[in-house]
Structures are given as C-alpha cells and as structure tokens.
C-alpha cells in the first residue's frame, strides 16, 4: 500500500527564483530551499501531493471551488510568468488523483474536478527549487484561501486527514510526500503593502505564533486561532496557511524535523520526516 513518507511546508514567493539567480546558491533563500530539497530527495518520493491556493490563475472569480483536485497526466506552469522561471511540464498521477477525489467525496468532501489545467507560481516555484528536473509526479489539491468566505481551518485539517487516508488505501506501493504551499502573513497588492514594495507583512506576530505552534506541535491551538478573521488580518493571502494545515492533517500528529522561519517575509520552511 502507499505510504506518506514526509511532509513539507514551503513558501512560493514568485520573485525568489530571480533573487536566487542574482544572489547565488549561498543566499539565505537558496540554502533554505536546498535543505528541503536534500530531505525530499532522501525520502525518495514516487509522488508529491501538494495543497495549494491558486492565485486566480487556474480558477477565477466566476468559478471558484472551495476544494478541487487536478486530474491529468501532466500540467504546465507557471501560467503567471514569474521572472527566471521557465515553463515546465510537470507529470502527474491521475489514477491516484481520481482515487483521492472519490474517497474524499465518499467521506463528505465536495472536491471539484479540474482537468486540462495549468498552474501558477504557487505550485511551480517550490518545485523549481525542490525538484528542478520535475522528475516526481505531482498532484495539486487546491484550497480556496484568498477569496472569502474561506473554508475553516478545522475543515481543511479534516480534508488533509481524509487525503491521508486515501493515500494509505491506494494499492500500488508508493512513497508519497505531502506539501503545503504558502505564507502565514502576507499582503500582495493591497493597502497594507510596505512603502515602495508590492507586498507587506501585516501581522508578523501572528507569523511568529504560527511558527511556534508548528514547532511545538500545538496543532489544535493553531487550528483554533486560525479563524477567518485572523487569516484576513494576516494579509490578503493569509489564508494560504490553510494549505499547511491540510498538509498537517495528511501526515498526522508528527513532530517537525525543523521549522525555519523567514519572518521578514511572513513565512517559513518546514520539514516533517519519520
């Protein structure tokens, strides 16, 4: 049977590929991603399941599911053209994606189906750093974390648990790594930008509390505090924390190997291995 072998929490800042190319492999961001890439390679995943919030590039305001799963043999991205990121074609695992969706629906989650889709930087930028050869198939599970009303943190955690059960019931013996993509406190293009920047970190204290909860395995407390109001106070993309929470649900009550914060950016890099 398939087994989940690791969990990763990743940021997806679209300018990171440009900055890393400019600043070289010894810059902080490059080293943080490299550390995760090493650990991902060490667990030898056959498939990556990534919880992600699309930035209105795959879906749009006129058709916006709360939960959706990508089902296709492959998908392209990024469709929003961040600098210094080539257009990739990423293999996927449609049979497992169909299995996850079916079990999810049977468990009470109305997971929409998306075929023939492309993805944006929020999926591709982490893969650009962690699997630059794009040699591991990826199944994206989309959580609507930007446009209110947002699904609750508890609901997303339960979605993760359901996905974890689906993976465990998948017959081909496969090693599956689960990822959650996004930031804890971030405002993009909104009124809480910093002067002269296109982003801001409206609630750095919240980002620090999230890191603390993750490090100390206080997941129930994290879920309880991750109300829609708190996520919105954290920034117009603060709901991306829901992807990390879903990932935590999938991997179960595990202690992190480490959480490396970049609080000036309102996010962190997390690894769970066992």
């Amino acid at each position: 049977m398939a087994q989940i072998v690791a969990g990763f929490g990743v940021p997806h800042t679209p300018i990171f590929p440009f900055l890393v190319k400019r600043d070289g492999p010894n810059c902080e961001t490059a080293k943080l991603f490299a550390a995760q890439a090493d650990r991902l390679a060490a667990v030898r995943p056959d498939v990556i399941v990534m919880f992600d919030t699309d930035h209105l590039n795959t879906f749009f305001l006129d058709s916006l599911p709360i939960f959706a799963i990508g089902v296709d043999k492959s998908f392209a991205g990024p469709n929003d053209e961040p600098r210094e990121v080539p257009l990739y074609n990423v293999r996927s695992a449609p049979d497992l994606a169909v299995h996850i969706r079916r079990l999810g629906i049977e468990s009470g989650f109305d997971i929409a189906l998306s075929e023939h889709f492309s993805v944006d930087h929020s999926i591709i930028v982490p893969l650009h750093f962690l699997t630059p050869n794009m040699h591991v198939p990826v199944i994206p599970i989309f959580i609507s974390g930007h446009v209110p009303p947002l699904p609750s943190a508890q609901r997303c955690y339960e979605l993760g648990r359901t996905v974890g059960r689906a993976i465990a019931s998948w017959n081909p013996a496969s090693r599956v790594a689960v990822m959650g993509s996004g930031s804890f406190s971030l405002e993009v293009g909104g009124p809480r930008m910093m002067p002269g920047r296109d982003y801001g970190v409206p609630d750095p204290d919240w980002a620090a509390r999230v890191v603390s909860c993750l490090s100390d395995q206080k997941i129930e407390a994290l879920i309880a505090q991750s109300t829609q109001g708190q996520l919105l106070r954290a920034g117009n993309v603060g709901g991306e924390l829901l992807n990390w929470i879903a990932m935590l649900g999938a991997i179960g009550g595990r202690a992190p190997e480490y959480i490396a914060p970049q609080l000036q950016n309102g996010h962190a890099y997390g690894v769970w291995r066992w």
Partner: protein
C-alpha cells in the same frame, strides 16, 4: 490595455464609474467598489492606465481599511 485602454474596455460589462476609474488608474476607487487588489496589482505590473509600482503603492496605501484589510468606505456606485 497598454496601447489603447479605452478601446480595450469598450463593450465590457462595467459601469461608467468603473470605466472612468479604470482609465484614470484610480485603484482606490476600484478597491472601494470591491475590486480584488491582488488582481488590480497586475495593472501596476504591466503599467497600464498611468500606473506603475510606485503610484499604485501610494494610491492603495492611502486607502482607509478595517482590521481585515477591507475598505472602510464602500462606494455607492449603483452598478
């Protein structure tokens, strides 16, 4: 939108007030009318309607907001 924004917006299902705000790059007004700021930021990225990163930043940061980052003043545009 870059070459001829008026032509690009012609025939679009938007109110006259929205049209004027777009052509003027009045992102504050658009924000108060409910436009998604994440999407509006593309106008600055592609420098349309008189916007660039600096101007966009100044106009958005001038908006009065509540604790959730939502506009305090909601436009009464009938559209």
């Amino acid at each position: 939108m870059a070459k001829d924004p008026a032509q690009a917006l012609a025939g679009k299902d938007i109110s006259e007030l929205e049209r004027q705000a777009l052509l003027a790059g009045d992102v504050g007004m658009l924000f108060r009318m409910g436009a998604n700021p994440f999407l509006m930021a593309y106008m600055a990225r592609f420098e349309v309607c008189g916007l660039n990163a600096e101007i966009y930043n100044q106009r958005m940061r001038a908006e009065r907001i509540d604790e959730f980052g939502l506009p305090l003043v909601v436009s009464d545009d009938p559209a």
